[in-house]
């Protein structure tokens, strides 16, 4: 018994990944649930338009953080601000009662706004846009699409690549006249296609089963999903280069997956998180896909209004994919004989000292 316990501790001591999970995971969960798990939105961004915009803005309680005051703007301008996710609520003055347009795609903020406006009685006419019944499923389905893509990209891809290493076939590929980039592309293309198919099925089922609207451009959505897929597939390749077994790959992928679920704004609103934890969310790719997905499906947001999310995802895709390719190339061509076109015998002479 004692020998068994000692042996188990010795093995555990050498399994740094499991140790990391044992130590990092509880800390991560504590931090996330302590600082991020908060459904209560303390302030919301507001716009006030119409002839009495200045007076109305001055009367609003501090819960409404007025970022736009435009007396010359109209209701359609206010709707554009909501559609572009610039504000969570827009007040249109100059009519009785004052009209309040609420962005229903930002569920927790919208619920807080509606609750606050209900206290104002009949002086404010509230209209929830993009998700009139404030259905959770309408907000969750676009985010779930991203989660599924992340799952396939990170876990399934890394397992597929690590299996090559485990069975020794990666070594075989390394000596074949095939470029590392071709191996990577050949390995991830099926997952890219399968993930795309999954995305299509989940989107269609979301529309059919839950009535989730698709108000924006399918092209903009497909473009965002494509770039996001490159990021998560790159993460999968990267994980495979630091894992020797499928178990290690799953452990590492879970360490990456959990923060994405909890800190991407998919479950807990980013605005309600403590600033330090929120910044972790801003480093995660799923955060930006959720912005794109919810924006396009629910609000019909344009590609131009979501440009920053596309740019950040593209930068992430380039960085992650380059890193993954370089590490994978190192695994596949350690001897530096990657050339595939030469027909002459290779006489490789090593330097006298390296």
């Amino acid at each position: 018994m004692g020998a068994m316990i000692i042996k188990e501790f010795r093995e555990l001591g050498r399994d740094r990944r499991t140790l990391a999970m044992l130590i990092v995971m509880p800390l991560l969960l504590l931090v996330i649930f302590g600082y991020a798990a908060n459904f209560n939105v303390s302030t919301v961004k507001a716009a006030v338009v119409g002839p009495q915009a200045e007076q109305l803005a001055a009367q609003l309680p501090s819960f409404f953080d007025v970022t736009v005051t435009e007396p010359s703007s109209t209701q359609s301008d206010a709707e554009a601000l909501l559609q572009d996710n610039k504000v969570d609520v827009a007040f249109v003055s100059g009519q009785t009662p004052t009209r309040a347009l609420v962005d229903g795609s930002n569920l927790f903020a919208a619920q807080s706004i509606v609750s606050a406006l209900n206290k104002a009685g009949e002086s404010v006419q509230t209209q929830v846009l993009y998700n009139p019944e404030l259905k959770t499923s309408w907000v969750m389905v676009p985010a779930i699409i991203g989660l599924i893509l992340t799952f396939i990209g990170v876990i399934i891809t890394s397992i597929g690549l690590v299996r090559e290493r485990e069975t020794g076939t990666l070594e075989q590929l390394a000596v074949m006249p095939i470029k590392p980039s071709t191996v990577i592309l050949g390995k991830i293309t099926p997952y890219f296609l399968l993930a795309s198919l999954d995305m299509l099925i989940v989107t269609l089922l979301g529309i059919m089963l839950f009535g989730v609207p698709f108000n924006g451009s399918p092209f903009a959505f497909a473009l965002g999903a494509g770039i996001f897929l490159f990021v998560v597939l790159g993460l999968g390749v990267l994980i495979s280069t630091v894992s020797h077994t499928a178990g290690q790959a799953i452990q590492t992928a879970l360490l990456l997956l959990l923060p994405q679920i909890l800190l991407s704004g998919m479950i807990f609103p980013l605005d309600a998180m403590a600033a330090g934890v929120r910044w972790i969310g801003y480093l995660l790719p799923l955060t930006y896909f959720v912005v794109i997905s919810q924006g396009i499906l629910l609000r019909g947001a344009s590609l131009a209004s979501l440009w920053y999310a596309y740019v950040i995802l593209t930068v992430m895709a380039v960085v992650v994919f380059t890193g993954a390719t370089l590490r994978f190339r190192r695994d596949l061509a350690p001897g530096g004989r990657a050339e595939a076109d030469s027909t002459e015998p290779v006489a490789a002479e090593a330097a006298s000292a390296r």
């Binding site: 069975t167 020794g168 076939t169 070594e171 075989q172 390394a174 000596v175 074949m176 006249p177 095939i178 061509a333 350690p334 001897g335 530096g336 004989r337 050339e339 595939a340 030469s342 027909t343 002459e344 015998p345 290779v346 006489a347 490789a348 002479e349 090593a350 330097a351 006298s352 000292a353 390296r354």
Partner: protein, 274 residues
């Protein structure tokens, strides 16, 4: 054409895996590399395939299109059928259509795998899987064939099949270098290289190795010097590298196993562990 390594030295951290090793692998010849665990067999083969960079020395190897390799692992994709495995590798080497079909049929027949063509590699026996791996390594008729312990863990009948396949490949002009833990296999090779601790203990044909062996080996129940003796079957062998054995001792004709152990003991005596 002769492939091989010249004055090859490879280090992994503080460990010297290859120490000034020179081995030639001429076309049409089978070179067997033998040695214990950590002798440097796999490192030598992987230096030839370009997987292990040398610290010093030179590698003479064909380009990847002309190199065949069977790793020490299974050498095939478990979730693909026998046919699909060969087709995949053949495709990478540019074989397709009728040429691929003809080559596949020829390889399956020679490896006695025609009846298992549709079986998954994971469903094959160890011997069949190694023969499949071998067939995949020679699908493109390489100039240099590198086989890492092709017969380890394989049943005796499949070992004979594998050796026949190796001999056939050499007969068509392929330069073959293979590591093995079976000394009877090594004895059959045209040239054998004995590695120990990353250095070449001896190399040449089996006859040359035997002829070049110096000293005497005796058989007894009680060795005179324990550090120079080892067990073979029911009795023990003892090596006398520089001195004559005691009068009356039974001198035996050493086989390859005796020679390798004796040379290893001599090397270790010359370079005691610090």
């Amino acid at each position: 054409m002769t492939f091989g390594v010249r004055s090859a030295t490879a280090r992994f951290g503080d460990t010297v895996a290859l120490d000034n090793v020179t081995v030639d692998v001429p076309s049409g010849m089978v070179v067997a590399v033998v040695g214990g665990d950590g002798a440097g067999k796999s490192t030598l083969l992987r230096a030839l395939t370009g997987e292990v960079p040398l610290d010093t020395g030179a590698v003479q190897a064909p380009p990847k299109q002309d190199l065949g390799y069977l790793p020490a692992s299974s050498g095939s994709w478990a979730a693909l059928s026998v046919t699909q495995n060969i087709d995949f590798v053949g495709g990478i080497y540019g074989l397709k259509g009728e040429a691929l079909a003809v080559r596949r049929a020829e390889l399956l027949e020679r490896a006695k795998l025609t009846g298992a063509a549709d079986r998954l590699a994971s469903q094959l026996s160890g011997g069949m899987r190694r023969k499949l791996g071998f067939s995949m390594a020679i699908v493109h008729e390489p100039s240099l064939l590198v086989l890492d312990e092709p017969s380890t863990g394989v049943d005796p009948v499949s070992r004979i099949d594998l050796w026949r396949l190796v001999s056939e490949a050499a007969a068509t002009g392929t330069a073959v270098i293979m590591s093995t833990t079976y000394l009877d296999e090594a004895e059959r090779a045209a040239h054998l290289v004995v590695l120990d601790g990353g250095r070449v203990l001896v190399q040449g044909s089996y006859d040359e190795v035997r002829a070049g062996f110096t000293g005497a080996i005796t058989r007894s129940d009680q060795p005179v010097r324990a550090e120079w003796s080892w067990r073979r079957g029911r009795d023990r062998r003892e090596y006398w590298p520089d001195t004559d054995p005691p009068p009356g001792a039974t001198i035996v004709q050493p086989d390859l196993e005796d020679i390798i152990i004796a040379l290893s003991l001599r090397r270790r005596a010359a370079r005691p562990l610090s």
